[in-house]
Amino acid sequence: MVKTTRYHYILRILLVFLGINAVWYAAALLIDMPILPRPSAVYESLLRLGYAEMWLNVGYSLYRVFAGMLLALALGLLIGLLMGRSAFWNRLLDPVVYLTYPVPKIALLPVVMLFFGLGEVSKILMIVLILIFQIIISVRDGVKAIPGTAYEVLSSIGATALHKFWHVTLPGALAVILSTIRISLGTAISVLFFTEIYGTEHGMGFFIMDAWQRLDYPGMYAGILLFSLVGFILFLLVDALDGIFMKWRRY
């Protein structure tokens, strides 16, 4: 039963993929200009890329996303836990988060570039900026949502603060992190594209813009496809983690 629904799901995705290609093919025939090559030409150019070049660019992009994500997780978890567990820190930091949350982080890109240069630091920092506020807020709310009685049972038998943190607070915080990542991952990938336009010779953003400047349109579309694939794989990864760690919620 479960197997057939999953099979159908994959089949539907494949059908949609083929459908998009069909529309694309029709549009390419209709427009008949080099700015919209046919799917076949793009796939051909994708194959011509060569593994070394492909993986170098994909690898750089993935490295930046993961580095930014890990940093944002570490910092966001720390601040979120502080705010969730301590009324003092919540009072102190809540206005800060409240005021900075609505600032469109991409607008800070020039500032970050001015302060941290055009290298890796500013690229990773932008991703951190995008993710961290979401993580702080969801961790704080996740920790606050843990029932007080869960602590009380352990407190009444003399559990140490560390035991309670390890078994109650931390899992409670982690429980909400995956859904936050799922939501903010899309934004993080978009921002990654912007940061890869400048100061680098690697990464999917660079690859796409480089092909565009060289008027290599099949190459540009191949890059877009590859970048989409990276995003898709990241989403599958989040799904897989969800399947492992979020079993308790699926009822």
Binding site: P147, T149, A150, E152, V153, L154, S155, S156, I157, G158, A159, T160, H163, H167, V168, P171, G172, A175, K247, W248, R249, Y251
Partner: protein
């Protein structure tokens, strides 16, 4: 310590609890439950039943008075407390067995005692008839099943004192009756000094050796009423004449107080 206080049971003396603003919330209340005795505490909502329970559990730091078990303060952590909260207090991201394991790891730490922990888990899941749910997550269980887990967890600690805070009040009537019977059976196989808070007169009569009636606001001495029903066979309790007599009596006390 005199020999008489060694098996003294749970003794609450002059317990007074105030709100943060200084207004009295409860007390002074005094109560003595002999070792391996089970008393039910009944009172209207907001009278301070849960507050009293939390004070005994060591969850309220600010109170005046003495709470001792067998002559020693309960908050020296000498007496182990098994708490069964109304809202179960289970961790949703841990399986049923892991919920018990988390609590047992506090009192039986270390790798060497793993076997003992696991043995207690299977013993008490079995006793509460939920051995087949060991690998399930709390969110997939019904309220009754979750409360069975919470009761199993409290028993598995083999506590000196068991504190139950309206554990069955959110359950439907049939489930509640089953759990009352199951709880009492397990209590009889391993008697533990227990205070059972409820707002249900029938439950108070079915489960308590004595019934403690608390006035609204807890500003009066507690009434402690003998309960002849308790010594009857559990299945016969509800239909017995004593049960009806006792119901009338408790209701009368409550009417006078409230």
């Amino acid at each position: 310590m005199s020999s008489s206080s060694r098996n003294d049971g749970l003794r609450i003396q002059g317990l007074t609890i105030s709100y943060a603003e200084g207004a009295p919330a409860l007390g002074p209340a005094s109560l003595h439950i002999p070792e391996h005795g089970i008393y039910t505490l009944i009172g209207p909502s907001g009278c301070g039943k849960s507050t009293l329970l939390r004070a005994v559990a060591g969850l309220l730091p600010g109170f005046v008075g003495d709470i001792t078990y067998n002559g020693q303060s309960v908050h020296g952590r000498k007496a182990l407390i098994g708490l069964v909260p109304q809202s179960y207090g289970l961790l949703p991201w841990k399986t049923v067995a892991a919920n018990l394991r988390t609590a047992l790891a506090v009192i039986l730490p270390g790798r060497k005692r793993k076997e003992e922990r696991e043995a207690r888990i299977s013993r008490w899941l079995e006793a509460m008839d939920i051995a087949d749910l060991a690998g399930r997550y709390p969110l997939s269980l019904s309220g009754g099943q979750q409360q069975r887990v919470a009761v199993a967890r409290a028993f598995a600690l083999l506590p000196e004192i068991m504190l139950l805070d309206e554990p069955f009040s959110a359950l439907d009537a049939m489930t509640r009756e089953t759990l009352q019977r199951l709880f009492l059976e397990n209590w009889r196989t391993r008697p533990v000094t227990a205070l059972f808070v409820t707002h249900d007169v029938e439950e108070a009569i079915l489960l308590g050796e004595k019934i403690v009636v608390m006035a609204p606001g807890g500003r009066r001495e507690l009434d402690i009423i003998d309960n002849p029903v308790f010594s009857l066979k559990h299945e016969d309790k509800r239909s017995s004449a004593e049960f009806f007599e006792q119901t009338k009596r408790i209701r009368k006390v409550m009417r006078e107080q409230w």
